[in-house]
């Protein structure tokens, strides 16, 4: 990934030969070149390429309903990929994000069921738990100075064990009880897991939430002080602190944002499937991180966008479902997935390099 951390492009560029432009540093680059240099443009082109590829290769992708399925898969990844991307821009990442989703769903389900309460009570407590897990990650990180790999690997293992052990302790089984006949379930399902009709196609509500969150994240990142803080702490923690950025606050709230995302996706899973198995979620954290990295966020922090991961998640959903739509030999499924993702990332990288080399 180090290739992408080149110094400012204008510095390496040779001075423009034409008259009227005396100094290369002040030269205004043309609009397409400036567009191409944005972090999300590479992944956008990659996503378009994958999309067009499957439009040609898989006839059933051309139906409206198929696109709804692809978008649904993309949205459940994408909602988590957004806070994960912000965290990554802020210089950290979170390995516990996958099981944290299941922790949230288990909390809400067991609390409402065991105490026979309105499911909204469980939903709110689950939010508190999820934010708490995020705050714990961030707090340990800033207090100890340990790398986020170690801290969140610890949380990942803790949550994985707690998910299983507490579920078994409380319900006597490794899955939660069905809560679909309880008060508030229909409301909560409408909020987290309903679908609506657009021209005869059933679109899942998560797609709408995903886009709303993406717009919000973009606004925060580009138009608010907090957004500047994220870039600053990701670029250099010490310099950021020197110019008065509240590093501790920023890092902890970023982890809490991931907690919020885990809560939201966890609630979707709970109200979509009525019960939760305690062993799920393992391995999902890598998919969220992958969506963010494909979306142009650097693993080293300080660079990226919120819209990039939207295309990253879309690309993941498109490839995942496209292989099925195309009816390819499923034994090769994982291999196809890997090849297509690598290919897309290479397009992404090539576009960014081509744009910054001018």
């Amino acid at each position: 990934m180090s290739v992408t951390r080149q110094p400012e492009p204008a510095v390496t560029a040779p001075p423009a030969p034409g008259p009227g432009q005396s100094d290369g540093r002040t030269r205004r680059r043309s609009l397409p070149v400036r567009l191409l240099a944005r972090p999300e443009v590479g992944v956008f082109l990659g996503a378009v390429a994958v999309f067009v590829f499957f439009l040609i290769a898989a006839p059933s992708v051309r139906q409206g309903g198929s696109m709804a399925t692809v978008l649904y898969q993309a949205s459940t990844i994408g909602i988590m990929a957004l806070p994960v991307a912000l965290l990554m821009i802020g210089g950290e990442f979170d390995l516990s994000a996958g099981v944290a989703v299941v922790t949230s769903a288990l909390t809400a389900s067991m609390l409402s069921y065991q105490l026979t309460m309105n499911v909204w009570a469980g939903v709110i407590v689950a939010l508190a738990v999820s934010l708490g897990v995020g705050a714990f990650n961030g707090w340990v990180l800033v207090r100890t100075g340990l790398p986020s790999f170690l801290v969140t690997l610890g949380t990942f293992l803790i949550l994985q064990g707690v998910n299983l052990a507490v579920t078994k302790l409380v319900t006597g089984n490794v899955a939660t009880d069905d809560i679909s006949d309880m008060d508030g379930f229909a409301q909560a399902k409408a909020f987290f897991a309903s679908s609506f009709d657009v021209g005869g196609v059933q679109v899942k509500i998560t797609v709408v939430w995903w886009l709303v969150f993406a717009a919000l994240a973009t606004w925060v990142l580009l138009r608010t002080k907090y957004g500047n803080w994220i870039f600053a702490v990701g670029g250099s923690r010490e310099s950021a602190r020197a110019v008065g950025v509240p590093v501790t606050f920023t890092k902890i709230t970023l982890f809490m944002l991931v907690g919020f995302g885990a809560w939201f996706v966890g609630m979707h899973q709970l109200f979509s499937f009525n019960t939760v198995q305690s062993g799920e979620g393992v391995g999902q954290e890598l998919i969220y991180i992958a969506a963010a990295v494909i979306g142009g966020c650097l693993l080293t922090g300080g660079y990226g966008s919120a819209i990039g991961p939207v295309f990253g998640a879309f690309m993941f959903g498109m490839v995942n479902q496209g292989i099925v739509y195309a009816g390819w030999n499923p034994d090769w499924f994982k291999a196809f997935l890997g090849v297509m993702l690598l290919g897309a990332v290479l397009i992404n990288l090539w576009v960014r390099r081509a744009a910054t080399r001018r």
């Binding site: 065991q114 006597g172 062993g279």
Partner: protein, 339 residues
């Protein structure tokens, strides 16, 4: 440097959250339907306890964490242990090398018997020979039907996955299926593949395979939906685990397909779905029985010198079919998490 210069500020948020939760609980926003209160007080089977000397049995499986199937196996083993005055030591690891270490651990503890699953028999060969040298009787359960005798095990309790698959294929013929899709939730799992292959053998229609990511339910749902949309001719979705069958119900609805759903393995939600006609039938290998018989078999061998299956034949626990005609008799046990 790293130590925070803002120690006081963020203690408030969690405290507020906990307080809000407590307030909610106190405010009594209770549900008038469902929940723990509506659950029937299930009676636990409390038969007498054997007065034989206390013995220790280790049950070592290849369970991944949080799988409903293995929970039922373990409950069966615990029930037998309680009745037979046996101390049960349970351990599990899906990685074959780690599972071998757990068997070694049991040998080190000098247990009186070991029950083990043979998902990857070659990896356990060495350690099982050591158990033999130590004079510890070993029985197999669940997987390893082809290998238990070669490895010198006393007895075997389980289902022949290929036989179960073949029975499944015949049942699909009986219900008039022409084109089905077999959903594998763990790529590379031998037992799951044998089920699909067995069904393919006896099924007269065509059976496609579909791989899904078993740890991510939304992904399972959309992948099955995609398959149903890609091929409108599919009339049956075959899943290999109960939770995936429940998800397939939603996929069929999402795809606007008329396909029916049949599955391997049961749990308590699934029996309800069979009663409601959402799922056509399930083939049950009775995991509770596998756990129970394995422990009981070791007890019988120690206290009465018995060999279940004569030490020559495996004791088959499946395939038993559960459909609308007999689901009522199974449902009450499934509700307790033992079927």
């Amino acid at each position: 440097m790293v130590r925070s210069s803002h120690p006081r500020s963020r203690r408030i948020a969690p405290a507020v959250a906990v307080f809000a939760a407590a307030a909610l609980t106190l405010a009594g926003c209770s549900s008038s339907s469902g929940g723990k209160k509506s659950e029937e007080g299930g009676s636990t089977s409390a038969a007498g306890t054997a007065d034989t000397p206390r013995m220790t049995v280790a049950l070592v499986t290849h369970q991944g964490p949080g799988d409903t199937f293995w929970d039922i196996v373990r409950k069966g083993a615990e029930a037998a242990a309680a009745k037979d005055n046996v101390k049960l030591v349970y351990s599990a690891d899906p990685n074959a090398g780690n599972q071998a270490n757990l068997v070694q651990n049991a040998i080190d503890q000098k247990v009186d018997g070991i029950a083990v699953t043979l998902a990857k028999p070659d990896a356990l060969k060495g350690v099982l020979a050591k158990a033999g040298q130590a004079g510890i009787p070993v029985v197999g359960l669940n997987s390893g039907l082809a290998d238990w005798q070669d490895l010198g095990l006393l007895e075997f309790f389980g289902q022949d996955e290929s036989v179960a698959g073949e029975a499944f294929g015949k049942k699909l013929n009986d219900v008039g299926s022409k084109k089905a899709v077999c959903v594998i939730h763990e790529q590379g799992n031998v037992g799951l593949t044998q089920r699909c292959d067995g069904a393919k053998k006896t099924f007269r229609g065509t059976l496609d395979t579909l791989y899904v990511n078993g740890t991510d339910m939304p992904s399972v749902k959309s992948t099955i939906t995609a398959k149903l949309k890609q091929d409108g001719g599919i009339d049956h979705v075959v899943t290999l685990g109960a939770p995936f069958a429940m998800t397939a119900v939603q996929s069929v609805a999402d795809a606007g397909s008329k396909a029916k759903i049949a599955t391997f393995d049961l749990n308590k939600d699934l029996t309800g779905a069979i009663e409601k006609d959402e799922i056509e039938f399930a083939v049950d290998q009775q995991p509770y029985l596998q756990g129970y018989l394995a422990v009981d078999g070791l007890w019988l061998h120690k206290n009465n010198g018995n060999y279940s299956g004569g030490g020559e034949q495996p004791v088959l626990t499946g395939p038993a079919f559960v459909d609308k005609s007999n689901v009522k008799s199974v449902a009450e046990f499934a509700a307790k998490g033992t079927r």
